[in-house]
Structure formats: C-alpha cells, structure tokens
C-alpha cells in the first residue's frame, strides 16, 4: 500500500518565501496580490495564505509579479488563513 506524504511537505512547493530583516523590512516571494495597502497595515495574498503586516509608516518598496517588499516599522505579523 502506498504511503501518504505528510501535509506539510505537500505545501512547501507553493508556500511563499518570507524574509524578514529585523523589524524594518519584509520580502515576500510568491505573493499573488495586494489586498490592503495602508500606512498602518498591509495585507498580502500568497497562495493559500493571507499575510498581514501591521506597524507604522509601512510602504511597499517594490511590487512585481511575484515579489513584494514591505518597509517600515513592523510591529505585528499575522497569518490570517
């Protein structure tokens, strides 16, 4: 009988790569869209995930097809779904 792979390993292929530099910069590779863009909160869609960054003076430094770079004073990171 064929053995099933764990769910965690299945998701790795489509999961976004998130790189956080201190609390000032976050680079999200694999982003599929921007859901909310405010200076206090930025929400990004990344496949099945919705990422939420809260803080002060947040701004998008770079926006491309699959990569988003958030800069500012980040106080909170949430994985909403």
């Amino acid at each position: 009988m064929k053995k099933k792979l764990p769910a965690l390993r299945l998701d790795l292929g489509t999961a976004p790569l998130i790189e956080i530099v201190g609390n000032r910069r976050v680079t999200v590779e694999g982003s599929t869209g921007i859901l909310l863009y405010e200076t206090g909160c930025i929400k990004l869609s990344a496949g099945d995930l919705v990422l939420s960054f809260e803080g002060r003076g947040l701004c998008l430094h770079c926006v491309s097809g699959s990569c988003v770079e958030v800069e500012g004073f980040i106080t909170k990171v949430d994985f909403l779904s």
């Binding site: 863009y37 926006v63 097809g65």
Partner: protein, 391 residues
C-alpha cells in the same frame, strides 16, 4: 543613479488612483509587468510613479480595477521638450551653441608665461609664436615637445621650459638660467692707468704703490706693482688691488643746426576698431579719413571672464596726423640744449665719473652752432693688468 537618468530621459508621471480598491491596480500592473515605483497610500487611494508611456497602457486596467487615475505631476525630458515645441529658435540656438563650443574647444584660446622675471615676456612670446604656440592655433596641430626644444635653443637665457595645455589655455612655465658667478682670479697683476691724469687719491689694498698723490700719470703707466723684490734677492708676486682717483680734463663738442625741421603730432586723430576672434578680424567702426603724414598706434583690449582670457578682443588703431614744423634755435637755446646733452651723456655714459667743473662755449657758425665743453672730471683710473710669472 543610472535608472533615475533613464527614467528622466523617457519621462515619468506621478499619478493618484482613487476608488474602492486601488490595491487591485497595483496587482494588475504587476501581473502585466508594468513597473511602478514608490507607491504611497493616500486618503482614499494611493499615489505612485510610472513612466509616461506605461501610464497610457494602464487605462484598461483602471476600468478593471474600478479606480480613477489622475496625473499630479509630469517630469522628464519629453515634457520639457513639449513645452518648447513652438520655439524652434531655441533648439537652433542650443545646437549652434553646442557646435560652437565643440569647435572652439579645439583651439588654443590664450596662454600665460610664468617664471619670467628678467627675461622679456614679449621675447618669449615671439619665439613661441615662431614655433607654433600662438593664440588660435588648433590644439591637434600643436607639437608641444618640439616647440619647447626649439624655443629653448633660441632663448639662451632660459634653462628650462614647459608648455602645459589645460583645456583651451596653456601655461608656459620657464626657468631662467642662473648668472655665472664672478670668479676672482688669483693671477698676479699690476694696476696701470687707464687714462692720463693727476692723481688725487690712492687707496691701495694689495700691491706696492709706485706713484704718489699729486703725480701726473699717462695712460698705461704702472701705478701699483704686483712684484716686490725680497731681501733675499727673490721676487714676491701679488695681485695688486687699488682705487686710484685721478683728475683729468676732457673736451666734448656738438654741432647743432640753427633751423630744425620735424614732425609734430596734431590733435587730429582717427580711431579704427576691429573685433578680433582668433585669426578672424572684423571692422567695427568705419573711418575713411586720411592724412598726408600719419603715425599709428595700436591698442588691444582682451576680454577676460573670471580671470580667464577669452579669444575675443577689440583692436583699436589710432591714426594721428603729423604736421611739418620748423623751429629756429637761438644761441641761448643752443647752449641749454648742449648742456642737457652733456648731462645725459654724463648720467648714462659715465655714471662712475664725478664731474668737478665744466666750461661751455657756444660759437655761431654758418647755419648752426658749434658747442664745445671742457669738463674736469675725477674717476678711478685703476686698470688691472695680469702678467705671467714665467715672463
């Protein structure tokens, strides 16, 4: 930096997107590979920068994102050029200016000479001009090393020269040769009289005096000897050194004509100005007057901007009328003229001679005056005469 320059050349706009979901516009633009930079959330929307060409391309996307966009500022070269579209003269002037700048920068505008303290700058300029270093010469045709070598060969008083071209100007640095030091000879010598006279003072520093105060001497007579016989029957040789002051009389004469004819400058002048740029000269003023006899003088005013000489100058040629004049000399005037002539001769030809007295006589001759002066002078008549001890 390079990206900023490219964006400026292509032109870019800052726009503001307002609507329910301006973020969607960002997503759509990113999905289509349309770059926008510095997106900033604003009241009810967002603002960002985008190239002018891409801004036209996102119109369909704005409808899909249900946002309204508005350009808030336009920046870059295309927008500046658009403003100047109706001003062809401006472009023509800019292009002509650029061409002029390129062409003029190929020539040597001016040069300065540094380090010439005793050598005439004009002499250096003349030699440099003969070797090709002259205002207005094309820089490409300038052989600096050859000019330096040839100029140094012509100018004996210089030991080193360097022509440094900096942009459109040149700095000619020169070093003058050091003067040869006076080498005191150790050869035994006598002091002899350089002319006839009566000795008034003897200051012998070295040697054996052969004359006394009040002695009359003739030219070539031994005054101070450099040879002294010793008690042992031998000879002692020294280099005689002395100041022998002697009085003598001298006759000077001058023939002056009674009637003088000469040209005198009148007040009639004609100025002709010419604008000079490199080798090109254009007349600025037109004056057609002429005189029978003319003396010319030239004046050149060179334009300087910020201490730099610009190859633009105004050359003024002044033609002065010469009037034929005649003057009749009286006996008293002839005496004054002769006296001045004597004073100038004494000042410049006999600077070390002390004049004790002079007796001036003026005789009227046929068509002029014969002036004679008997001067009593006092001067150092010591003349060093070296001799060889083997003689």
């Amino acid at each position: 930096m390079l990206v900023s320059i490219l964006r400026y050349i292509k032109g870019y706009v800052r726009f503001r997107a307002t609507g329910n979901s301006p973020e969607r516009l960002l997503n759509l633009a990113a999905a289509r590979g349309i770059p926008l930079w510095e997106p900033q959330p604003t009241e009810g929307g967002l603002s960002a920068f985008m190239s002018a060409r891409d801004y036209r391309a996102i119109r369909p996307l704005t409808k899909r994102a249900r946002v309204r966009t508005k350009v808030t500022s336009r920046r870059g070269l295309p927008f500046i050029l658009r403003k100047c579209r109706g001003r062809a003269g401006l472009f023509a002037g800019a292009i002509a200016g650029a061409i002029l700048l390129i062409v003029l920068s190929q020539f040597l505008w001016s040069y300065e000479i540094v380090g010439a303290n005793h050598v005439s700058e004009q002499a250096i300029r003349d030699v440099l001009a003969q070797n090709g270093v002259v205002q207005g010469v094309p820089k490409a045709s300038l052989d600096v090393e050859q000019a330096e070598r040839a100029s140094l060969r012509r100018l004996d008083t210089l030991s080193w020269m360097s022509v440094n071209i900096q942009g459109c100007t040149a700095c000619v640095e020169v070093r003058e040769k050091d003067k040869k030091p006076e080498i005191q000879s150790l050869q035994p010598a006598n002091i002899k009289a350089s002319r006839d006279g009566v000795i008034t003072d003897i200051r012998a520093r070295q040697g054996f005096t052969q004359v006394q105060k009040g002695s009359g001497v003739v030219k070539g007579q031994l005054l101070v000897s450099g040879v002294n016989p010793t008690r042992q029957g031998g000879m002692r040789f020294v280099r005689a050194d002395a100041d022998i002051m002697a009085e003598y009389t001298e006759e000077k004469s001058l023939e002056l004509p009674q009637q003088f004819n000469y040209y005198s400058l009148s007040e009639n002048k004609i100025d002709r100005k010419r604008l000079k740029c490199f080798w090109l000269e254009l007349p600025v003023s037109l004056s057609f007057g002429r005189f029978d006899h003319t003396a010319y003088s030239f004046r050149e005013e060179v334009l300087q901007i910020g201490g730099r000489t610009v190859p633009l100058s105004v050359r003024t040629e002044t033609a002065c009328e010469l009037v034929d004049c005649s003057f009749s000399l009286s006996k008293a005037q002839a005496e004054r003229v002769f006296l001045r002539h004597l004073l100038l001769t004494e000042l410049f030809c006999q600077p070390k001679t002390q004049v004790i007295g002079r007796h001036v006589m003026v005789k009227e001759t046929k068509g002029g005056y014969s002036c004679t002066a008997i001067c009593t002078n006092c001067e150092n008549i010591a003349q060093t005469s070296e001799f060889n001890v083997t003689e």
